[in-house]
Structure formats: C-alpha cells, structure tokens
Amino acid sequence: MEFKSNTPIYLQVIDDIKSRILAGEICPGEKLPSSRELALQYDINPNTAARIYTEMERMGLSYTKRGIGTFVAENPKAVDEMKEEAVEKVLGEFIQNMSNLGFDKETMIKELTEYLSK
C-alpha cells in the first residue's frame, strides 16, 4: 500500500481496513491478524500496528478478547456509520468536482439521472 505523506500512517491503514469491511472482504465478528502480522501485511512499524488496534477499539470498530486476539465489531451501527461516512466522502468529492466544472444543482441531477438510466 502506498501511503500519503501528510496523514499519519495509522489513520491510513484504519481507512483501508474500514473500506475492506464495507466491501465485505472482512466480516463483522471476524478475527483480525495479530499486530505483528498486521505490521507485516502493510510493511509498517509494529508500534504503529499496535496503535491501529487501540484506535479501532476506541472508535468501536473492533474489540479485544484477552489472549485470543482482536475481532471486528459485530454491531451493525458502526458499519452503518462507516457507510454514511464513505457516501459523504464520495458524494462530497463528486459535487466539488462538478461545481468546479461549472454545473449547478439542477444540471448535476439531470446529468446524474441521465447517466444512471444509460
């Protein structure tokens, strides 16, 4: 994975794990790799990997069973929130790009409807 230089690596990996959960690649309740394995998967520092799990747990995305490992949270609420977040991001970028091209709200809707019915 290529990392952007202006954002902490742990946040970029969390975003990647989130999108993998949304894509159904990782399922709620599934066991996640140990932090050393996670470090190897992303070629990142082991401390950064450990921090990823601490932060994910704080965000309600994962939980730890002592001595067993880290698991993806099973509550669908977190998944719904992530979906909303992702939609917000994608739509926000779309609208920004469209208005940069000079489209107003009506034309945007018109273009989008036409495109979808193709």
């Binding site: 230089s5 202006n6 070629d43 520092n45």
Partner: protein
Amino acid sequence: MKVQCSNLTKKYYTKTAVDHINVTFSEGHIYALLGPNGSGKSTLMKMISGLTSPSDGEISFDGEKQTWRSKADVAYAPTESFFFNYMSIKDVGNYYEDFFEDFDREIFLKLLQEMALSEDLKIKNLSSGMLAKMKIAVTLSRRAKMILLDEPLNGIDLMSRDTIIKTIIGYAPENGCVVISSHMVEELEKTVDYAIFMRDGSIVFETDVEQLREKERKSIVDKYREIYSWEVA
C-alpha cells in the same frame, strides 16, 4: 533496555566525526539514522557496538557504563562484508554460534529459508543482494537487545530490499531496539517509528515519525529534503 549517549565525541586526528552527541535509544522502537555520507552515522554505531572508543563523553546501558559485558547485548552489521570468502553459509552460522551466546540456530535456519538462501552456498558466490540478506539473517539470529544495521539496503535490488524490510519488521526484538542507518529514506518511511537526522557529526533534528505527519503534515522524506536541500550532492 535503554541506551544513552551523552556528549559522545569521536575525533580522528583533526577531523571530528561525532561531535558531542546526546541521544537515547529505548526498547520497542525501530530508529532510522539518517544523513548524507560522512555525517557520522557509522562512527556512532561503531562506538555503541564497542568497536571503537569515544574520544569524549560516554555510553550507558540501562544506566550502567559501557563494559565488555554490555557489548554482548549489541548485534552490529557493518556496511562492509565481514565474512571470509571461503566459508559457506553454514560455516558462518557455526562461527556465529561459537562466538555469540545469544545466537539462535533455529531462528537462523528459519531466516535462511524465508530468504531462500541455501546453507551450502559459498560466500564468494553470493550476489550482493544475497550477501545483504545473509548479513541480516546472522545479525537478527542473535537475540540481542540492540541491533545496529549500517546501510543494510545499500546497492541491492528492490526485491531483496523488500525481503530485508519485512524481516526486520518480523524479527525486531520486543524487549530491544533496532537502529537502521540509511540514505535511502523512502525505504524506511513506513518501517521506523523514530527518525534521527545527522549532519557533520551532530544531530540536527529528531522526531517521532507519526507525530511529524500529525503536526507538520510531513513524511520523513519531506523533512529530509527540508534539512539537506542546501547541501551540494
């Protein structure tokens, strides 16, 4: 384990290679020691490993002064090849086993397998990539508390570099620390959590890598460019 350098200095006749350095290495971290050639990285490593003695200042291991005993806690891989050409990889393993109490043969064999190095290969027949991997394998097979790797990625192909980085991440001791010197900053970006920038024998900047991204929105590559941009290549 905590390794502390205070006022550490090394002079060679008229040249000061390391100039009153104060720095601490703590366990559980992977450090990048960065800077152009001649900035003092290798000399600093040689002093910590006990291969050369400081002209001034001191090094302490967990608060105790450096002795022959503390040298046993340091595994150091210099830039140069340090094996005899006539040896096979197996011979090097035996040599290390004789020499270092903390050498773990099981780990050594596992590392050789992961790096696709066969025990009966002769040192003189190894490519530079294989030799670099071999160096990492013997050094990390020592369960030392401090691991010093001087330019481990120098002059080797991309695939060997990837293998070496992965091996360092996988085998970095939890109760110790790893220090990697390099001028290939990009390669270390994701692997290290702390970066130390040297110039003319002094430390000019040091930072936690994630904090640098958080506070200044910069990677260590960005910071490297900022620090050394005026330097003539």
